[in-house]
């Protein structure tokens, strides 16, 4: 019985017609294309994008720089007496990230001891391409805190 059925299928090419039917249905399905420059997909909450740094939360422990596997975080700081509170405070002189070699592993964020983290990558920013190697890829402290091309939804992440 089954062999006869298989023979009939073969002769009448039923499986081929079934395939044609399935592809025909797909013509009317909703298209999945995202028209990129006009539409953008929002990355997931865990997506590791561009860095951000909050200088007020940062305790200048340099753990992030030490944990960075390719040593691209450069931190200089000095101590100073705050004239208002008369206490000694650490102040950042430099907090630079050389993005050229960064692989966005997120180990710096993991190493950060403050809560909430003072350096984090979940900014959902992924449009980091540039035309020149030296353009935009060396990020200093000011840029890290107020990154100029970051999208609007980044601030929502800060509150979390």
């Amino acid at each position: 019985m089954t062999s006869t059925k298989r023979f009939l299928d073969r002769i009448m090419l039923l499986d081929l017609f079934a395939g044609l039917g399935i592809t025909f249905k797909y013509i009317f399905k909703k298209k999945v294309t995202v028209q990129y420059p006009e539409e953008r997909m929002e990355p997931s909450h865990r997506f590791r994008g561009m860095f951000r740094l909050d200088e007020d939360r940062c305790i200048k422990c340099t753990l992030c720089a030490r944990d960075c596997p390719i040593d691209i975080i450069y931190i200089d700081w000095h101590q100073e007496v705050n004239p208002e509170t008369e206490k000694k405070e650490k102040l950042l002189d430099r907090f630079d990230i050389d993005l050229q070699r960064c692989m966005f592993c997120g180990l710096c964020e993991e190493a950060c001891p403050t809560n909430p983290k003072s350096i984090w990558l979940t900014t959902k920013t992924y449009e980091l391409a540039s035309y020149e190697r030296w353009e935009n890829l060396y990020i200093d402290m000011a840029e890290l805190q107020e990154w100029k091309v970051r999208p609007e939804y980044t601030d929502r992440e800060i509150e979390k």
């Binding site: 797909y26 013509i27 399905k29």
Partner: protein, 364 residues
């Protein structure tokens, strides 16, 4: 328009007009329409393939991608036209022309609409050869030489393999196609394409449904062999992008590649047009024997134009099926291709030919 033509006829003399000016005008018109159709067939193919794959297809050049073919042609025209160092120059140059030329020549005998006997005015085809079907078979075969020649002359292993595959494919698929073309020939009793359409009208049936199932079998075999003939999926072994880079046109660039491309699409249209003419009643309406459906004759249009509308509709269905096949079926392996051709199509077409002959003697 008609006045202009009749004035021209008087000025040039009826002989000169009927045998040079009128055909030249018709040829110019048909070529323009066919080339435009080919250009937009590429767009339609990319769009439909996109839809089949849940994409949108090209939509950047012009609204809905309408200007895409123009951009493609402009790109191909300005591209560098390179000939490989050790290629056989004359064959390399000749090959693309051999693919395109015959495919376009076939349109000379395709009846797009009724003859002057039906319209009372102009013939809606360029010419009506009394061995039209033979002419079509002869011309359709030449394009394969172009592919083989192109594959051999480019001095590249991929091209050569593509050309050889094309030769083998031709041998296996010309035979069943030829047999299947005999069936409408038997049914109509004439080789003139216009005569075949007219006899479908007289007998009141499309030949695809004549002497069931033999007409249908022949139609099926013709279509499968036609897909193979125009090197389309699932029979695109000569090109075989994943195995042979681009097969026989690997070494071609610029306008010469465009000619091959043009030839493939022209072949698609030719196979469709001949299939429509021989098996699906050409320019006649569906069910020409059912009186109730006579509103399908589109009486509000001139007879010729109504015929052209039906012809175009059937052609579009054919072309859509070509693209649909490409979006559905994977490529046949070489031995499967041979298996299908020799073990299935040739016996089937033989059965169709013998069956039609017997049926014609017994019931015709």
């Amino acid at each position: 328009m008609a006045e202009l033509l009749s004035g021209l006829r008087e000025a040039a003399g009826p002989f000169l007009f009927d045998y040079t000016i009128q055909p030249a005008l018709k040829i110019a018109l048909v070529m323009a329409v066919v080339l435009g159709l080919i250009a937009y067939l590429t767009l339609a193919e990319r769009k439909i393939l996109g839809f089949l794959q849940v994409r949108t297809g090209p939509n950047r050049v012009g609204p809905w991608g309408v200007l895409q073919p123009i951009a493609d042609v402009a790109k191909l025209l300005v591209k560098e036209d390179s000939i490989p160092d050790r290629a056989v120059r004359w064959a390399f140059v000749l090959a693309p022309c051999l693919v395109v030329g015959p495919a376009l020549v076939i349109f000379a005998v395709v009846p797009f609409g009724p003859s002057s006997a039906t319209t009372g005015g102009a013939n809606w085809f360029i010419t009506d050869v009394n061995v039209g079907l033979l002419f079509v078979i002869a011309m359709a075969t030449i394009s394969v030489y172009g592919i083989i020649l192109g594959g051999w002359s480019s001095n590249s292993k991929f091209s050569l393999l593509g050309g050889l595959r094309s030769a083998a494919q031709m041998i296996s698929y010309e035979v069943p196609q030829g047999f299947s073309l005999v069936v409408p020939l038997l049914m109509a009793g004439t080789m003139s394409l216009n005569g075949i359409v007219m006899s479908q009208l007289e007998q009141g049936r499309w030949f695809a449904f004549g002497f069931f199932p033999f007409g249908f079998l022949a139609f099926f075999v013709y279509f499968v062999a036609g897909v193979a003939e125009s090197n389309r999926n699932p029979f695109d072994l000569p090109e075989a992008e994943s195995e042979l880079v681009a097969g026989f046109h690997t070494e071609y660039s610029g306008m010469r590649f465009a000619l091959f491309f043009l030839g493939e699409y022209a072949n698609m249209i030719v196979v469709s047009a001949i299939g429509v003419t021989l098996f699906l009643g050409g320019w006649s309406r569906p069910f020409p024997n059912v009186e109730v459906l006579s509103f399908l004759d589109l009486g509000f249009l001139p007879v010729g134009l109504a015929g052209l509308v039906w012809f175009t509709l059937k052609l579009v269905v054919f072309l859509f099926t070509f693209i649909w096949f490409r979006g559905t079926f994977p490529r046949y392996r070489f031995d499967q291709l041979m298996d299908l051709g020799w073990k299935w199509l040739i016996p089937t077409s033989l059965i169709a030919v013998v069956g039609t002959g017997l049926a014609k003697i017994l019931f015709g």
